[in-house]
């Protein structure tokens, strides 16, 4: 018995040695982008001109006062139409390896195209967008300035919006500063981070965005008991992709309730609890939960600079 324990411990030690580098990297303080283009993108982002009835803009669902995400469980588009999933945050989305919950867009430009077209979101088509912008002197001058052309084309719209979104990074979160050795975490936060790694959250939530770099199944251990809405199966039609989603970023997570793809969880504690049950296969103690949540709260960064700039 003792021998078995000893052997086990040695095995464990050898495993611990493999915790090599920090699996989370801090955001850069700033990112290089074309300022004029980004500003144009910013105008477009906030302008409902891009939706069919001019009721909805990108910012309608990506609320910058709500961590860049939608406070509603599912988004509401033109003519009050409901979406299927909870809009994820636009902050730091530049660092995601794919866009959308099921990763159907490979980059931001690809992503921006979809809501504009989606009948339940903005319900537009390329020609209409072009027509509207070309008859708008304000935009025409802006586009000419950026793209040196008199004719606004749809790709430019996407390009400008993507450039703006690129600028939407939230640096200097407490945790980033901790990683850089600028501040110390409280013992609770530190314990939370340790648990985060120890319990296996880190296996999926890692990298610069603490997530957003792989597809994972919700309910890997204990099955998720709700309908699989907007999962990867919808794209691939593979059984393997049932309940499979892009791992969401945990940056600014404290700001972006409700949680999960379906926006079914209202609080962070509940979300942590559910993740532990479905994906790790156990329940957390209150203490553990408290520590992890306090760690997650250190991931809230500064509002992107570009949002403070003059419109």
């Amino acid at each position: 018995m003792d021998k078995a324990f000893l052997a086990f411990f040695i095995l464990l030690l050898s495993y611990i040695f493999l915790f090599a580098k920090e699996p989370i990297t801090p955001l850069p303080k700033s990112i290089k982008y074309d300022k004029e283009k980004a500003i144009l993108g910013k105008y477009l982002f906030f302008d409902p001109i891009l939706s069919k009835d001019k009721s909805t803009s990108c910012a309608s669902c990506h609320d910058f006062n709500h961590g860049g995400a939608d406070p509603r469980p599912v988004s509401i588009g033109v003519e009050g139409k409901k979406g299927k999933v909870n809009a994820p945050t636009v902050y730091n989305s530049y660092f995601n390896f794919r866009q959308f919950w099921n990763g159907r867009a490979k980059d931001l430009k690809d992503q921006a195209k979809c809501p504009i077209h989606a009948p339940n979101e903005m319900a537009m088509n390329e020609k209409l967008v072009e027509k509207r912008l070309n008859s708008n002197t304000f935009y025409k001058t802006l586009f000419k300035k950026v793209y040196k052309t008199d004719k606004v084309e749809f790709w430019m719209v996407l390009d400008a919006i993507a450039e703006f979104e690129k600028a939407l990074i939230t640096p200097d979160s407490k945790f980033d500063r901790y990683l850089k050795g600028e501040v110390k975490l409280s013992s609770l936060e530190k314990k939370g981070y340790l648990l985060f790694k120890q319990l296996g959250c880190i296996t999926c939530h890692n990298g610069i965005n603490i997530g957003g770099n792989s597809f994972q199944k919700i309910g890997a251990i204990n099955p998720y008991n709700k309908e699989p809405i907007g999962d990867r199966f919808e794209i691939t039609k593979r059984e393997f992709d049932r309940y499979r989603y892009k791992v969401p970023s945990l940056r600014n997570i404290a700001l972006t309730a409700p949680y999960f793809h379906d926006g079914s969880v209202d609080t962070l504690e509940e979300a942590v609890d559910k993740m532990a049950y479905h994906n790790l296969g156990f329940t957390l103690s209150e203490m553990e939960k408290k520590a992890i949540v306090s760690f997650l709260k250190t991931l809230t960064g500064k509002k992107p600079k570009i949002l403070n700039d003059e419109k």
Partner: protein, 702 residues
């Protein structure tokens, strides 16, 4: 021939073309290497990136947790490379099959990346379960109740065994462990607990084991698919295909290179051609030069080599034989038929000589000057006499026809084997010319021709010196009346003092004539004789030659003497030398009449030796005949001579001319003279020449 400036244009155009081709070649080569390097680098980059990806996956499966970002960034790098490849027109156009291959690889790789995403999902699940199971081991239930002790002990053992199997499986990626885990799992499933904490532990354990058992085969399958994907082989194949394709392109490069080489060779040929042209011009120049040189070497009339060449050629031979061939009486032909005929003859002789002399003698032919030809050859085994005879016979048997006139030529040949060639050959030639019986002669040093020339030069010097230092003076030899022994007259004989020795002038006469000193010699002797005899009651005779008579200066001088010494003119006799032919009789006659007017007498010297012409004697009004010494000296033995002398004497008596016998050197000769009734006698037996008149009579004992 192309003009020089055209040549320059040609060269310039050719040069620029070559440079353009070179630039093109350089550019092409550069592009080729840049492009190909880029493609090669791209493929290598892909290889590296895929290897990196594999490594990262392995790392991901080994490490408990791993930042996925690195994998994503590798994928992004791969995507960037493919974007670059897809926009590379050169690649697409020049290596279409390779490009296709690479696109095929791209599909495979992207599929692999998709698998990686799937793998990440399974990997996370497996890892979470593994990790959780490791933490679960610390929560193994305590054994406190005795009733369940055995059951719990067994349970614990089984749990530890199972979890360690899981670790083994996880770390070895070996599916075989799953079977054991499955069996254990089945065993564990049979346990059931009532206690809440045990029940909870048990259900969590089972669910994690279940997850592991379900996912581990998928996990190993994906890992195998990722790590043993055929994409790497595909890429390697693409690389090889590219190298083949690039090689094809290289073939064009080689072709281009060969063209350049050909161009280069053409260029070299062009240069050689130009050089040849220059050389040709040089050759023409040299030809002109050699023509000029030839003209300096060759006699333009006969085309034979000239004297200048002979002078240099003669030094080159070891045993030289040299012929001088002279055309006899050439001056006569030239004067008679004209210069053109003379030139014709010269050309004819030149040609003839070349034909006559055997070719194998390697003889060289020269025109030395005027009508003198030279033949120079190596002695070897040649029969010199035969060659000479052949030449002479040729001209004897051939006549030249010039303007319908037949001209008979004869040549004289001087031959020598001794140096100095030209001088000795010339001597031999002169010898031939003197001797009418000979037509050629081989120079022989015993003949002393060369010495004779030296002597002549010496004599000329001595004579000149004597004349200048007043060492030429008269001696006097008595001429006697052999019957009374009375001295009737003195013959003046010129004498010369050389190194305190008095010599006869006879040996200097010839040189005097040739060097124009003869006039002065005559004048000196005449003047001194007149001066000597002016106050003596004596007759004396002076020798006067044809040269003197035909020399107006000498005649003038004689007249002056006549004016100076008029009282002794009756006592003077002039002895005209008969041995040389009297050419101009009028001149002699004039002289004789002039002298006779003054009362002087005329004697004919050396009569009977040369061209004695009795008729002339009669016409010339002569007082004395001096019979030649050669007839007198052996008159006592030679009946022929005696007969001639007798005839001359008889003729003289008839013509009323007194006779004088010279060279009376003995009693016997004197007796004969007397017997023949010759008027006067002269000779050593009677009296020797002396510088002063001493004796009254010729011989005291007479």
């Amino acid at each position: 021939m192309i003009k020089t400036n055209k040549k320059i244009y040609f060269a310039a155009i050719f040069g620029s073309l070559a440079i353009l081709l070179l630039i093109f070649f350089e550019n092409f080569t550069k592009t080729y290497f840049i492009q190909n390097n880029r493609i090669l680098n791209t493929i290598h980059d892909l290889q590296t990136l895929e290897a990196k990806l594999d490594y990262q996956i392995l790392e991901n499966s080994l490490f408990l947790y791993k930042n996925f970002d690195s994998i994503i960034s590798t994928q992004k790098n791969i995507e960037t490379i493919f974007k670059k490849i897809e926009s590379d027109k050169h690649f697409k156009n020049e290596h279409p099959s390779v490009y296709k291959e690479l696109m095929d690889y791209k599909r495979t790789l992207y599929k692999k990346i998709e698998i990686i995403h799937d793998f990440e999902s399974v990997n996370s699940t497996i890892k979470n379960s593994t990790m959780y199971l490791s933490t679960l081991i610390t929560k193994i239930p305590e054994i406190n109740e005795k009733s369940d002790k055995l059951k719990l002990e067994n349970y614990n053992k089984l749990v530890i065994k199972t979890i360690s199997s899981i670790f083994l499986a996880k770390n070895s990626f070996d599916e075989d462990f799953i079977e054991e885990i499955k069996i254990n799992y089945e065993h564990l499933k049979k346990f059931s607990f009532d206690k809440k904490n045990l029940k909870n532990f048990h259900s969590v354990l089972l669910s994690h084991l279940q997850v592991f058992i379900t996912n581990f085969p998928i996990y190993t399958k994906y890992l195998n698919e990722i790590l043993h994907n055929d994409s790497k082989e595909k890429l390697q194949k693409t690389l090889e295909e590219f190298i083949v394709s690039a090689d094809k392109e290289l073939k064009f490069l080689t072709l281009l290179y060969n063209i350049l080489i050909i161009f280069y060779i053409l260029f070299i040929i062009a240069i050689l051609y130009l050089m040849l042209i220059i050389d040709k011009e040089n050759i023409l120049l040299k030809k002109a030069q050699s023509k000029l040189e030839k003209m300096a070497r060759i006699d333009p009339l006969t085309k034979l080599l000239n004297r200048r060449v002979l002078d240099s050629d003669k030094k080159k031979l070891q045993n030289p034989v040299f012929f001088i061939i002279n055309i006899d009486r050439f001056k006569h032909f030239n004067d008679f038929y004209g210069i053109n005929a003379g030139d014709f003859i010269l050309r004819y002789v030149a040609k003839a000589l070349k034909n006559i002399v055997p070719k194998d003698s390697k003889a060289k032919f020269y025109r030395i000057g005027g009508d003198d030809f030279g033949i120079l050859m190596e002695k070897d085994s040649l029969d010199i006499e035969k060659i000479a005879k052949d030449i002479i016979d040729y001209f004897k048997t051939h006549t030249i026809r010039y303007n319908n006139i037949d001209i008979h030529l004869s040549v004289s040949i001087g031959i020598t084997l001794q140096k100095p060639l030209i001088e000795t050959a010339d001597m031999a030639l002169k010898y031939v010319k003197k001797d009418i019986r000979r037509s050629f002669f081989i120079y022989n040093s015993n003949l002393g021709f060369y010495k004779k020339i030296e002597d002549n030069i010496n004599r000329a010097k001595i004579l000149k010196n004597a004349l200048e230092t007043d060492n030429v003076f008269p001696y006097f030899q008595p001429i006697c009346d052999p019957y009374s022994n009375e001295i009737v007259k003195y013959e003046v004989l010129a004498r010369l003092k050389n190194k305190n020795k008095v010599e006869s002038i006879s040996t200097y006469l010839q040189i005097a004539k040739e060097t124009k000193m003869y006039e002065e010699l005559t004048k000196t002797i005449f003047e001194k004789s007149f001066e000597y005899f002016k106050d003596k009651n004596c007759h004396f005779s002076l020798n006067i030659s044809m040269e003197d008579i035909s020399n107006p200066n000498t005649l003038k001088f004689v007249k002056k003497l006549f004016d100076t010494y008029p009282h002794i003119l009756q006592k003077v006799t002039f002895e005209i030398l008969e041995s040389t032919a009297i050419i101009d009789y009028n001149m002699v006659r004039e002289f004789i009449s002039m002298v006779k007017k003054m009362g002087s007498k005329i004697a004919l010297d050396d009569f009977g030796s040369g061209f004695s012409n009795y008729e002339h004697i009669l016409n010339l009004n002569i007082d004395y005949i001096k019979i030649d010494g050669s007839l007198i000296k052996d008159i006592d033995k030679n009946t022929h001579a005696k007969l001639i002398v007798k005839t001359i004497n008889n003729f003289a008596k008839e013509a009323n001319i007194k006779t004088v016998a010279e060279f009376v050197h003995s009693q016997e000769v004197l007796e004969k003279i007397k017997e023949l009734n010759i008027d006067y006698a002269q000779g050593f037996y009677l009296a020797k020449p002396t510088p002063f008149i001493k004796a009254e009579k010729c011989k005291k004992n007479f």
